[in-house]
């Protein structure tokens, strides 16, 4: 029981990062029924941009803000120039383009920076406190709380603002939302921007917690977050958060029970099982899922 509880505690930080990335997959899927396979690269770009602005002498909050704006804009531009023109013609074409886009972004960062990992200029120390027999990293509690706060703010935005309501309406019924006056292109862009913002925050946390960033850091994180989004019910914000946490904690359990070799493959086992047994995911509704 002690191991079990400890594994949960150890898993929430990584689970939170999966959750933050998964929300982006989920929202974009919600509005376009499209999986942005380049989404993991936004996480990576976010970390690189923060590092770039930090080395230019910006204070951390400015670096993060600029990175959010830059990567958010990149996400919107990618959608406009690479996905949008293909949308009318087939569902497969944008998917393939997204995979190509992800390779492109990985490679451009390798060229501009270095194929090797770089050390991140700012780091959050991993101080540990003991709670009885349990070990808790204060940092992990912070990451978890921040994730819940961001998810809460996002829901507030989606339910209380006009633009957010537009996103929900578009996700429920695209044609009906257009007939009600929801501007389609602008709303899609906004969705990509929000997804990018959360991915950038996750990338920055990853950089600060592990102290290093590398051009392929978005690959693993992206695939796992995608699995998490499907697990929770793609299209559902709460599902993405839940799926991310469940995946992070499951991985940490595998490690604590001596099965760490299988850790990275576990997301795919989950992905396959969910698609076979409950394709709509934990919180999803059947009609929304068209994977």
């Amino acid at each position: 029981m002690l191991d079990f509880t400890q594994a949960i505690i150890d898993g929430i930080a990584i689970g939170s990062l999966y959750a933050l990335i998964a929300i982006g997959y989920s929202m974009v899927f919600g509005v376009l029924q499209f999986v942005n396979f380049a989404h993991g690269e936004l996480f990576m770009l976010g970390a690189y941009f923060v590092m770039l602005f930090l080395t230019m002498g910006a204070p951390l909050w400015v670096a993060i803000l600029f990175s959010l704006l830059s990567v958010g804009t990149i996400a919107v531009v990618i959608e406009r120039i690479a996905y949008k023109p293909l949308r009318k013609h087939s569902r497969l074409a944008p998917l393939i383009t997204a995979v190509a886009m992800s390779l492109f972004l990985q490679n451009i960062i390798q060229v501009l920076f270095s194929p090797n990992s770089l050390s991140f200029p700012i780091n959050i120390p991993g101080n540990i406190v003991t709670l009885g027999e349990l070990f808790v990293r204060i940092r992990d509690i912070g990451i978890f709380s921040l994730t819940l706060l961001l998810a809460f703010l996002l829901e507030l935005f989606l339910f209380k603002t006009k633009a957010g309501t537009g996103i929900r309406a578009l996700a429920m019924h695209a044609d009906a939302s257009k007939l009600c006056g929801v501007p389609f292109n602008r709303t899609v862009s906004l969705t990509f921007f929000i997804g990018a913002v959360l991915a950038v925050i996750a990338g920055t946390i990853q950089g600060m917690a592990t102290n290093q960033i590398f051009p392929l850091m978005g690959v693993n994180a992206g695939l796992k977050a995608f699995a998490a989004a499907v697990l929770g019910g793609i299209g559902e914000i709460r599902g993405a958060v839940l799926g991310g946490l469940v995946l992070g904690i499951s991985e940490s359990m595998l490690v604590s029970y001596g099965l760490s070799t299988y850790k990275d493959g576990f997301a795919f086992v989950i992905l396959i099982l969910v698609l076979l047994i409950r394709p709509q995911g934990i919180l999803g509704r059947t009609q929304l899922v068209k994977v």
Binding site: G166, R168, M172, H173, A176, K178, L179, F184
Partner: protein, 235 residues
């Protein structure tokens, strides 16, 4: 008020509308009748900007709206209750009505006043205000779709098959309300397979067959037209 010239619409190789000419004046109810696949829905979707025309022009209050996006068209004053109702399933009735006013700049108080008007028109919706719209019956969803379209305070209301899949008694109620809306000054374009019902409440009508207007005229005279009777009114 609305003038359509030589409108042609294609879906890939399928020609859904072939050079359709159409006109509706302020204060009229005009119906567009025709059987399955005649092109009624395509016509309405094109007017609302959901489908792009291959050729032809659409004028609304004298300005060309042929290449304008859907969300701008609602703002100009053309609102649609679409085929299949398309209510937002996870939103309550009230939220759906609020969505109807999305295109406006109305304040919450003004929107609330409009909602009260909708409840006067459709008392059934009043009882269901806080229910998720997916839980409504087909007839109630149809009422909601019409009410949602009215929330935009349109100048022209497009209704696509409001009788589809609804019990006859409820259809009667809905058509009575449509008629009353028109007497209250609303200009209405009604697309219907149920020609008898549509012609009865309309001033004029167009008969569409395989994407072409084959007849048009006063609704009363079409109701007694031999061809129309044979093809659409069961003899």
């Amino acid at each position: 008020m609305l003038l359509v010239e030589n409108l042609s619409v294609n879906y890939g190789a399928i020609q859904a509308l072939k050079s359709v000419n159409f006109e509706i004046f302020q204060g009229e109810i005009v119906s567009l009748v025709g059987s399955n696949g005649a092109g009624k829905t395509t016509f309405l979707r094109t007017l609302s900007g959901l489908v792009k025309a291959k050729s032809g022009k659409i004028f609304f209050s004298k300005s060309n709206i042929s290449n304008i996006e859907s969300h701008e068209i609602v703002k100009l004053g053309i609102s649609q209750s679409p085929e299949g109702r398309m209510v937002f399933p996870d939103m309550t009735v009230k939220e759906n009505l609020f969505m109807g006013a999305f295109c406006t700049k109305n304040s919450s108080q003004e929107i609330q006043k409009d909602i009260d008007k909708m409840i006067d028109w459709f008392p059934r919706l009043g009882e269901r205000m806080n229910q998720k719209s997916i839980l409504l019956s087909g007839g109630e969803q149809q009422m909601l779709a019409i009410a949602r379209a009215l929330m935009a305070r349109p100048k022209l209301l497009l209704l696509d098959e409001p009788s589809l899949g609804i019990a006859p008694l409820v259809v009667q109620q809905i058509f009575k309300i449509i008629s009353e809306l028109n007497r209250g000054g609303m200009t209405i374009l009604l697309a219907e397979q149920n020609a008898r019902l549509a012609l009865k409440i309309s001033h004029r009508a167009y008969v569409l067959e395989l994407g072409t207007v084959i007849k048009k005229g006063e609704a009363q005279s079409l109701l007694h037209d031999d061809d129309v009777q044979r093809a659409y009114l069961g003899g």
